[in-house]
Symmetry: C2
Subunit: 474 residues, 2 copies
């Protein structure tokens, strides 16, 4: 699938799906991702266009990327330009908000099913960090240790909690700004307004609805049935009373509830957020529908049709891999689009669209022209598979090495700083087209400390009438 | 129903059920209590014997009460003697534990659906307090504000939380000892080990199981489906890491999990605790089956066949009622077992078994001989309905007045003392037949502070091997 209007350089893994007659249709849900089965039993590449159509999401097109660049002053990330993040819901509305200097926050997450991350995990996280850097907004990072133990019979809650802590250290090593990032473990953080939101949301959703949305059945455990409410309300600003002011508001408020969020995520998580988008307005303090940016799955070493998986170590580059392990994995396992021997390759050329080494270079090589030349040279046969793999190995070794160096610096003390519920500090758009102040002080409570969120940055006020003339807009 | 071997003075409301042909059968569940429908459409008294048989609970008989008196040195409470608390599961095992000086705790609860309590609420609470005084053990008091908003569409979570706080003040006014009582609101307290227990428990229970146990269906909301897991794990000692030691244990432990609990409760709550009794051993750190003491429902002013209900103000004596309101309610609404006029009453005598004023006197008059005389005099016609009602009015006015005086003293500061998660202090049985020490220090964590629970009273120790020779029993 190449998306109309996007860069001419497609992400390699996405070219193989068109025109195939399939047997088993593809199956995408939050717990399993499987491509369709081809005529000869082989697994086909994921058909992302079909998902967009089925789930009625919007394609991220050139027009949207141009608007992004105009509003933010930033060139779209290569993962946007190349369609790794390919689909959205209401991302255009977030750009409108940013343009007007109105507050919003980012929310992303990770299911801690193992203690170490691979590329398939870190790349979407890097993208979330990039969005945070560009927009200068708060980011909440949910570690669903509760979910992982609920859905995997072999894992205890103590184990997934320990994985969450390890994963958090990895996440920190990606370079998130501590001032505007709150990382939390569900098992540790869930309580108070977050849990109240989850209960209230769960009251709006029946067994029949989660059965339909997530494929549950009568034998599903009741924790599984309830959990979607937890993941859904993580998109509500009221779930995080601490991040908006020095003294957390004692009660949920209508004004905090109005702050929307933007969620970069794998497309497989969309069912959760369809559910929250359908029900957000039904909450006592209604929240806007969260905006979503969907990513494709990171191509496994074996090629398109599955995603990198921790349970298959040879499918992924892990962030703990040594330079040698990376080299060996790419050389041994990375699916090649090259020909059977050098002579044939020189004569016929390779197919970068299905070549995993090339695909990985699309993730890391920022220079579009350089990448286009690699594409053309591989096509023509001028560039050999070994040479292409070598470039991919270098890029991956460099990326993983940088990560590992930063990871060493993440002590328990650093971890505590990120995971402590606290007021976040950010600036948002400092040159908005229109200045808007939103007062989030609790109504009817004269003694409560008010928090005026201006251009995304909170400025504390005390009592009524001190939030400036905009206060009257409440 | 009079229970074999119990006192000769039956609780008045329970005499009317035998021998009736019924149409609609009685329906008892945690959210609704309805007697069977009689031949002429009237509501029959609840048939408690039938519940015992259906749910396979044990009747509290004379032998058990004798053992209670022998082990504790206390005369059984009049509510035990008169069969208001009429049924149990494993209460005998709790007596065995008490006899040996082994620790256990009490757990009871209240669903805060309104801000004020009536007799039907306070009497079981008074009984819990009496058990706590007799056994000298910790008591946890759960306010299910989450449940009440989940099951009542008209109530918001903020409202039930506010009711919980009001109810807590009423509960405190009943005289619970602050040193050994922890009162909590689910919406405020749920987090950490409690929530981890709930998640783990919910993983053991399917939709099919809660459908069967609680009468849920596919249209039930997912919060309702999950909530039983919350109420169930309130029976596990590990849910309250704070109450066992000054420094709460960082992790759940096997040894804390072994501390059993005793739950005095309305018989309608039994489905929750059947579920926990069926699954307690399947937890990662197994807990014993909780022991239960079941009460009948407090007779409504209108007589047997329903229970006092906040939603029907004329069915109940509220703890906020004035002396005049109490007088008027009893005189106007209390169902009478007397005859149509004085002459007939003198001639035929009244029926104390169905007389609500008499029933209320069975709740408050501790003197068995005095009560027996009232019973006989009413039967013979010597005692008139007006005279009986006057005695009931006096008893109720006195009880409610005492409550209201203590209630005035319960400030927000007092409330905070009871609701703060903290180490509780208790003594248990100070003259056990055999001394048993149970070390609850976390295994494999040399740095953790150990807590040796001896005779129910915790004595702190540090490190391995300092808990005395009994330590080897671990």
């Amino acid at each position: 699938m190449t998306t109309e209007g996007q860069s001419q350089i497609p992400v390699g893994s996405s070219g193989a799906a068109s025109g195939e007659t399939t047997r088993r249709t593809q199956d995408i849900n939050p717990w399993s991702v499987q491509g369709a089965e081809g005529e000869n039993g082989e697994v086909a590449a994921i058909d992302y266009e079909a998902i967009c159509q089925k789930w009625k999401t919007q394609v991220i097109d050139q027009k949207l990327l141009e608007r992004f660049e105009k509003v933010t002053g930033h060139k779209p990330h290569r993962w946007l330009r190349r369609g790794l993040f390919f689909s959205h819901r209401d991302f255009d509305k977030i750009l409108d908000r940013y343009e007007r200097g109105e507050p919003f926050f980012l929310y992303t997450g990770r299911g801690p099913s193992t203690g170490s991350l691979h590329l398939g995990h870190t790349i979407p996280m890097e993208f979330a960090k990039w969005l945070q850097d560009v927009f200068d907004v708060p980011l909440v990072f949910m570690l669903t240790d509760d979910e992982k133990a609920l859905f995997k019979s072999s894992l205890t809650f103590e184990e997934t909690l320990a994985y969450a802590m390890e994963n958090a250290k990895d996440i920190i090593a990606l370079g998130f700004d501590v001032k505007k990032t709150f990382i939390y473990s569900d098992l540790k953080y869930l309580s108070n307004h977050f849990l109240m939101n989850a209960w209230e949301f769960s009251k709006l959703v029946t067994f029949n609805q989660v059965r339909g949305a997530f494929g549950f059945n009568e034998s599903s455990n009741v924790g599984q049935l309830f959990f979607p409410s937890v993941q859904c309300v993580a998109a509500f600003a009221t779930s995080y009373p601490e991040i908006w002011s020095d003294t957390p508001l004692p009660n949920r408020t209508k004004d905090i509830a109005k702050i929307p969020c933007l969620i970069p995520m794998g497309i497989d998580q969309d069912p959760y957020f369809r559910l929250v988008r359908e029900n957000a307005h039904r909450m006592r303090y209604p929240s806007p529908k969260p905006a979503l940016i969907h990513s494709k799955f990171l191509t496994a070493l074996q090629g398109a049709g599955g995603k990198m998986s921790s349970s298959n170590p040879n499918s992924a580059i892990f962030m703990t891999d040594t330079p040698n392990q990376i080299k060996n994995k790419i050389n041994r396992y990375a699916f090649s689009g090259g020909q059977v021997n050098i002579e044939e390759h020189r004569r016929l050329g390779g197919n970068p669209d299905v070549d995993v080494a090339y695909t990985y270079l699309t993730y890391f090589e920022d220079d579009d022209a350089k990448l286009a030349k690699l594409y053309d040279d591989y096509r023509s046969g001028a560039l050999l598979t070994g040479e292409l793999k070598k470039l991919a190995i270098q890029a991956l070794q460099e990326y993983v090495k940088g990560f590992q160096e930063r990871r060493k610096l993440v002590t328990d003390e650093v971890l505590e700083q990120y995971m402590r519920p606290r007021k976040l500090e950010w600036k948002g758009n400092q040159n908005p087209v229109a200045k808007v102040t939103m007062n989030v002080k609790e109504k009817g409570d004269d003694k409560a400390k008010g928090v005026a969120v201006t251009n995304g940055a909170p400025a504390e006020t005390t009592g009524e009438g001190k939030a400036g003339p905009e206060n009257s807009k409440r």
